[in-house]
């Protein structure tokens, strides 16, 4: 059933009795043309585009828990594309373009809200780095502009720009097309879209092994629901990528860290943009529901615990209260963690490990949500065609051998 104001009205009149399931609950078939491991936003988007753009309908997405239950449902929903390097600009801007039409594409309101993402500069080094981004982005046709502290305050009146504070705001970069989207809706919209194209989304079906034939190529996956044959496996398992790839005997340049987020109790609108500060390690926006959504840095040590330490959240709130003194009296409602897989250069891996039939899309670290549509789109292309397209090509695993890193962390090079 097509979603629209009219259908909501008509169904409402009928007591909402006729809304169909947004996706089926199929049992796995004995074999598929391809299997995607991980029904997060990236995995579901991959399946959706494989079905829609490559006509692959006999495919399945396997999920050990429930779809969208990992980082897709745990992040702070920031969308932006103002990255430094051309390769990053390519993939994140590709995603941004897809974000702009995604609600209509999926007939699902993912609430993409281009409310502006503002990154605060607190010292001269920040200014140099952010201006470099602004110039690079302009050349790449990506909006990103420089604001004075006063302009930043005008854009976000909640912000404290007094000069005498410990880390004064001396300017900011702003991507107006950046913003937020509703994370669950992204997973659900892609799931519904993929399902309608015939993709089997099989939840509660943990992959326990990857079977390879005599030639070493992938021949299927062992799962909680039995063996499923396939010659193509795309692994999109975020924090659990190392574990899944290990089943095929592949080591990865990844470490998994807890990343925490928290929300306040809901209040009437206080801020209408996203504000990030790398110097003081905090970022904040306000959800449509009214909760202030606050992100922290990763915990110091690798972990799969999905919790993290209280001192990390505490440090983030220190910073938030300095940047926005008016929020000090609000209260933390929920605090949680996700597991992010981090590469040595903080850029993703979209590639082919040395196992025929095996593909991997991982390493999105702390920034994966914003890439969801673009990541799924290019990975679908890779799994379907067997070769990466121009946008995905730079993100090989091989770059760690050759040294051609795409180091976005470099942008945050520490001050002299």
């Amino acid at each position: 059933m097509k979603f629209s104001a009219l259908s909501v009205f008509l169904q409402g009149l009928k007591g909402n009795r006729d809304w169909p399931a947004q996706w089926r609950t199929p049992e796995p078939k004995a074999a598929y043309d391809a299997i995607i491991v991980g029904a997060g936003g990236h995995g579901l988007a991959t399946a959706y585009y494989m079905a829609k753009e490559h006509g692959m309908r006999n495919i399945a997405v396997l999920e050990k828990g429930w779809l969208g239950g990992g980082n897709t449902g745990r992040n702070t929903t920031i969308v932006r594309s103002n990255y430094l390097w051309e390769e990053s600009e390519g993939i994140y801007e590709h995603a941004m373009k897809l974000w702009e039409g995604l609600s209509h594409e999926l007939n699902y309101n993912v609430m993409y809200s281009p409310r502006g993402v503002m990154m605060l500069a607190h010292n001269i080094h920040d200014v140099q780095v952010f201006k470099r981004h602004v110039h690079a982005n302009r050349l790449a046709g990506i909006d990103n502009e420089w604001l004075t502290a006063e302009q930043a305050k005008e854009f976000c009146p909640l912000l404290n720009i007094e000069r005498n504070i410990r880390h004064p705001v001396i300017g900011a970069s702003l991507q107006r097309r950046g913003g937020t989207a509703r994370h669950d809706a992204v997973a659900w919209g892609y799931a519904r879209g993929a399902d309608r194209l015939g993709v089997d989304i099989i939840q509660n079906c943990e992959v326990t092994g990857i079977r390879r034939d005599a030639s070493g190529a992938v021949s299927g996956v062992e799962t909680a629901k039995g063996f499923i044959a396939t010659k193509r496996v795309g692994v999109v398992a975020a924090g659990n990528t190392s574990v899944i790839m290990g089943m095929a005997g592949v080591r990865m340049p990844l470490e998994s860290y807890p990343l925490q987020a928290l929300v306040s109790e809901p209040v009437k609108p206080m801020m209408s943009c996203v504000v990030m500060s790398n110097t003081v390690h905090a970022y904040m926006s306000q959800s449509d529901k009214g909760e202030l959504v606050i992100g922290a840095g990763t915990d110091a040590y690798t972990s799969y615990s999905q919790t993290g330490g209280l001192h990390i959240a505490t440090h983030t709130l220190d910073a938030i209260c300095e940047l926005f003194p008016a929020v000090r009296r609000l209260r933390m409602l929920r605090n949680w963690g996700g597991i992010v897989d981090v590469t040595p250069d903080r850029s993703p891996i979209i590639g082919k490990p040395p196992v025929p039939g095996l593909f991997v899309n991982c390493g999105w670290g702390t920034g994966g949500f914003k890439a969801t549509p673009g990541s799924g789109h290019v990975f679908a292309d890779l799994v379907a065609r067997g070769e990466p397209n121009a946008i995905a090509a730079p993100f090989t695993i091989d770059r760690f051998r050759t040294g051609r890193l795409i180091d976005e962390a470099a942008a945050a090079a520490v001050a002299h």
Binding site: S103, E265, K268, M270, D288, I320, A326, R331, L333, L405
Partner: protein
């Protein structure tokens, strides 16, 4: 008609205290000392305390505690002291309290937003995912510009805070042997046991008073004493234990790894006068053992109209009656699935409240209950369900119908002004679950209860599923003994305890075609229908149901709603409850103020500031400062009427003409000492060190193992076994950690010791042709002559009589010295140098002039010319890499294919065609003048200044194949057009280096 629902003279009423005045929504009321805002309003007959989130339905208080979803208020205590979303059930009354309701306009009684209620059928679960998209041609415009702003304005419960909070918050870390969370019967018993053991005990409870349900227990007696007398005696005994810390108003809200439990203590909000001290305290407790005694929360029943003001949890009515002396109505109906509501009925009836009926959903309520009810003259309707309720701002009637099989009979309407419901009790397993324990579903009891302990904790009492008072006490006592390593069980004699059987989950049977709204999550306005719709739409896990409907995601975090939601979803799916799953119990248990987390880490204490020994002189001499890492560095020294540009220009010119004096104390300094010091330096730096003679200096370049430049600095050899290493200002701790890492873990055989000496030395740089003349009168024991002390050498001697290391080095391209003296002498030596300098018209210069002069000379700054992706060759620093060295950190990476590939970005100088144009740092560089967008950049400008020495602009840049492009014209595209630049070498001043060797 003040406090007309107060039972002033009942012997059980604990509120006989001082009258207090308070204001709610602009109306003045009277309450009593010991009241909560909720009990005081109820005493005045006020049930209507809020409006719901989505439908703006009028809502009364549901509960008497932390689980309250409805009665949310804002309390204002003056400028900056407005707190939204407080539960009226937890707000302690004080004289002059001013509170207001939320989420309504123009008033609580008449709220325009209630129109949503009429259109409710169109606001089903997840409706917003299906609409508000607008026509495709409009793109996102309709959502972004029209719908989202409406949604946002309508959403959000509490008022926004607008001013900085003037209150203070404190933080404490502490240890204890036993932490007991929860001060009800189980907790008290545990505390008695642990207290006797002599162990160090922390005993906390969220409420102002310890006692939990014992505070309103009017019937039971313990050890022959009425429960409340027993409680008083027990608390008196606990207070005699010096080893027990009693912490009221303290919520254990988070249970972390290794028995680390976070507590939030409310210190001041209950006081009429805000104190000077902290408003709240955040406690972080490392406990050897933890006793969880967090009790249970009563479940609402799910029936149409179960949200009208006046409909509330049954036990809450008993709490208001017995603890606060407040009748929640004059004529009540009890609807229950559990024995415990009979106690409520009996107590209310005894207090003179008309109990019109007890509607029991069970076909066969226990005989003992029926006998009790009959004895009190109360009517019991078994096999009952509720068809609907009536009333606008307060319930006025309830339809009760008998259920036979699946058939619901026609309802009998019973007039009432309060409906008291009980669906049974949900053990509070939150802390146990946060401790990473796995809760276990008990099918026979229809409860999730704690399973095996993962950490050193044990649950006791109702949170573990024990509901008989005697069991609770015994279990609590045993838990206290176990936790404190004591033994010697204690018996408790309990009589008059009420029944503990019963309970239901999910919605009650409905009349066919029932249209009433039956709420599950009151605050988020989630109805039973919404949950069923979510399941119908494919949301088969409770996490999906929760997110799709928002049930359990309100500020009460589903304390009263989660189990009902789960049961409804399971019922719709035809699955058992554990198959559908349980949502996780995320911290905090109840919301905790941001300010409490921040504590004293605000203002100047947010992040420490490092200052040099010369900082005060710079301040006195009008310096502007910049933040570099956590250092404050003098940026420039403006004279009267000078702006930054003029000051920097003067500083540069004067330094090159005569001399400049610069505070370089922030440079990182590491003393590398030991017989293998040179061998160690060979490993950690690219340069060769073995042959560097004592007394000589060398520019050192440090790579990470990936081959990228991470630090640089001048390194002096003090002796065969000793190096004086300098690092960048921000890099000092990182470099020391890097060195220690390799020394300890890769090269442990090397006999080397590393000591950070950054703060031991003050460093005064004197740069310029007059530098030698300036310092000479102050230096003793060192021959400063050109031949005796050439460029890049170090000597030890005295400056102003103070032991000093004097280096002849330059970061300006001029003759220069850096005087290292013990930090305590820094300022006085600086002043002496300054006094000498003034004879030569020398200037004090700051970091900006330093930057300009080093760029004129083509010296890099790590972090500005480098960004973690740059190799020594990229920087033209191959001369600093020891070719003959077999190994150093990063060497192997330098020969990876892409590290030696053509087209890498290389450091060059740029000169704009127009000498007045100063490029912007970070600007991109292209080959074509009219660069279309989406073109690849050749590189970027790393440093750019107006050069006083050249009288024109200069820039450094990283450009692809830059060294091959000497003389080429490239372009810097700017919004106003491309700027033409010529590629030149990176050294603009004195390329031959004559001046440094003066």
């Amino acid at each position: 008609m003040s406090e007309s629902f107060r039972i002033a003279d009942t012997k059980d009423s604990r509120v006989s205290g001082r009258p207090l005045r308070f204001v709610f929504d602009g109306i003045a009321y009277q309450g009593r000392e010991g009241d909560t805002l909720a009990s005081a309003l109820l005493a005045n007959g006020v049930h209507l305390m809020g409006r719901s989130y989505k439908y703006h339905r009028p809502r009364g208080v549901l509960s008497a505690g932390a689980e309250e979803p409805n009665a949310l208020v804002a309390v204002t205590r003056g400028p900056g002291r407005m707190t939204p979303n407080l539960r009226a059930t937890q707000v302690e009354l004080f004289d002059g309290l001013t509170a207001s309701s939320q989420n309504n306009w123009p008033s609580l009684a008449f709220d325009a937003g209630a129109i949503n209620d009429l259109a409710g059928k169109f606001f089903s679960a997840g409706f917003y995912y299906k609409t508000f998209m607008g026509p495709k041609v409009a793109g996102n415009w309709l959502w972004t510009k029209v719908f989202e702003p409406i949604v946002r304005q309508a959403a959000g419960l509490g008022a926004r805070t607008t001013e900085p909070d003037p209150d203070r918050y404190a933080q404490f870390y502490t240890h204890c042997d036993v932490l007991i969370c929860g001060g009800g019967a189980a907790g008290i018993a545990a505390a008695l046991a642990a207290g006797k053991s002599g162990k160090d005990v922390i005993f906390c409870d969220e409420q102002a008073e310890f006692g939990g349900s014992l505070l309103h227990e009017g019937t039971a007696s313990i050890d022959g004493k009425p429960a409340r007398d027993w409680l008083a005696d027990a608390l008196a005994e606990l207070r005699t234990f010096s080893n027990v810390r009693l912490m009221p108003r303290t919520q254990a809200f988070g249970y972390y790894a290794q028995n680390f439990v976070a507590l939030s203590e409310r210190v001041a909000d209950h006081l009429a006068e805000a104190p000077n001290g902290a408003r709240e305290r955040l406690w972080q407790v490392r406990a050897k053992e933890v006793v969880i005694a967090t009790g249970a929360i009563e479940r609402p029943l799910v029936f149409p109209g179960n949200d009208r003001p006046g409909v509330m949890l049954a036990e809450a009515a008993r709490i208001y009656l017995n603890r606060y002396g407040v009748k929640v109505g004059s004529r009540v109906v009890i609807v229950t699935a559990h024995d415990s509501a009979y106690r409520v009925a009996l107590d209310l009836a005894a207090a003179g409240v008309v109990v019109a009926a007890i509607a029991d959903t069970r076909a066969n309520p226990p005989v003992a209950r029926l006998i009790e009810a009959k004895a009190a003259g109360l009517r019991v309707i078994p096999s009952a369900t509720v068809t609907d309720t009536k009333g606008r701002l307060r319930v006025s009637g309830i339809g009760i119908a008998a259920v036979s099989g699946v058939v619901v009979d026609a309802p009998e309407w019973v007039a009432c002004d309060a409906v008291l419901m009980s669906g049974g009790w949900t053990p509070s397993v939150h802390l146990y679950s946060q401790s990473r324990g796995k809760v276990v579903w008990h099918e026979d009891r229809q409860m999730f209860l704690p399973g095996a302990s993962v950490q050193a904790e044990r649950s006791a009492g109702a949170c573990k599923g024990s509901f008989a008072l005697v069991d609770i006490l015994i279990e609590g006592y045993r838990a206290g003994e176990e936790a404190s390593g004591a033994s010697g069980l204690r018996a408790f004699a309990v009589s008059g305890d009420a029944g503990i059987e019963g309970g239901t989950m999910g919605r009650l049977p409905l009349l066919p075609g029932s249209k009433g709204k039956a709420f599950v999550d009151f605050q988020n306005d989630v109805k039973a229908d919404d949950i069923e719709l979510a399941v119908q739409e494919g949301m088969r896990s409770i996490e999906h149901v929760k997110r799709y409907t928002t049930t359990g995601m309100a500020t009460d975090q589903g304390k009263t709603s989660n189990l009902n939601a789960l049961a409804i979803a399971a019922g719709k799916l035809g699955k058992s409850i554990p198959q559908v799953g349980l949502t996780t119990f995320r911290q905090p248990y109840t919301p905790v103020t941001f300010g409490a987390f921040a504590g004293a880490n605000r203002g100047d204490l947010f992040d420490p500031v490092r200052q040099t020994p010369i900082h005060s002189w710079a301040e006195e001499n009008g310096a502007a400062f910049e933040d570099v890492g956590i250092w404050k560095r003098a940026w420039y020294f403006p004279r009267q009427g000078e702006d930054m540009h003029a000051a920097v220009k003067r500083e540069c010119q004067q330094a090159r003409a005569s001399a400049g004096i610069f505070d370089a104390s922030t440079l990182g300094k590491i003393e590398v000492v030991g017989p293998d010091a040179a061998a160690f330096m060979e490993k950690l730096y690219t340069n060769p060190w073995a042959k560097l003679e004592p007394g000589r200096c060398r520019y050192g370049l440090m790579l990470n193992e990936a081959g990228f430049v991470i630090d640089d600095g001048v390194i002096a050899r003090m002796g065969d076994d000793r190096f004086h290493v300098t690092t960048t200002t921000g890099g000092a701790p990182r470099v020391l950690h890097h060195m220690e890492d390799y020394l300890q873990t890769e090269f442990p055989d090397l006999k080397v010791w590393l000591t950070s000496t950054t703060e031991q030395w003050a460093v005064i740089a004197v740069q310029g042709p007059k530098a030698r003349d300036i310092i000479a009168p102050l230096v003793t024991g060192i021959d400063l002559s050109k031949d005796a002390m050439p460029h890049m050498s170090i000597r030890e001697g005295k400056v102003c009589g103070v032991p000093a290391r004097v280096m002849r080095v330059s970061f300006t391209g001029e003759l220069g010295y850096e005087i290292n003296v013990p930090a305590d002498y820094g300022r006085s030596v600086w002043e002496a140098v300054w006094a000498e300098g003034r004879k030569y018209n020398a200037v004090a210069y700051g970091t900006e002039a330093m930057h300009v002069m080093r760029a004129e000379k083509g010296y890099i700054i790590v972090g500005q010319e480098t960004d973690g992706t740059v190799t020594p060759d990229d920087l033209g620093l191959n001369w600093a890499v020891g070719k003959a060295k077999k190994d150093f950190v990063g060497k192997r990476s330098l020969i990876r294919p892409d590290m030696v590939v053509e087209g890498r970005k290389q450091l060059v100088g740029l000169l704009t065609d127009n000498p007045a144009t100063v490029l912007e740092e970070g600007a991109q560089i292209t080959a074509a003048s009219a660069a279309p967008t989406r073109t690849s950049a050749l590189g970027h400008v790393t440093s750019s200044y107006e050069s006083p020495a050249l009288g024109r602009s200069i820039a450094l840049a990283l450009v692809a194949d830059g060294r091959k492009r000497m003389g080429e014209t490239l372009y810097v595209p700017m919004p106003g057009g491309a700027i033409a630049v010529k590629v030149v070498g990176p050294v603009f001043v004195d390329p031959k280096g004559d001046r440094v060797n003066e």
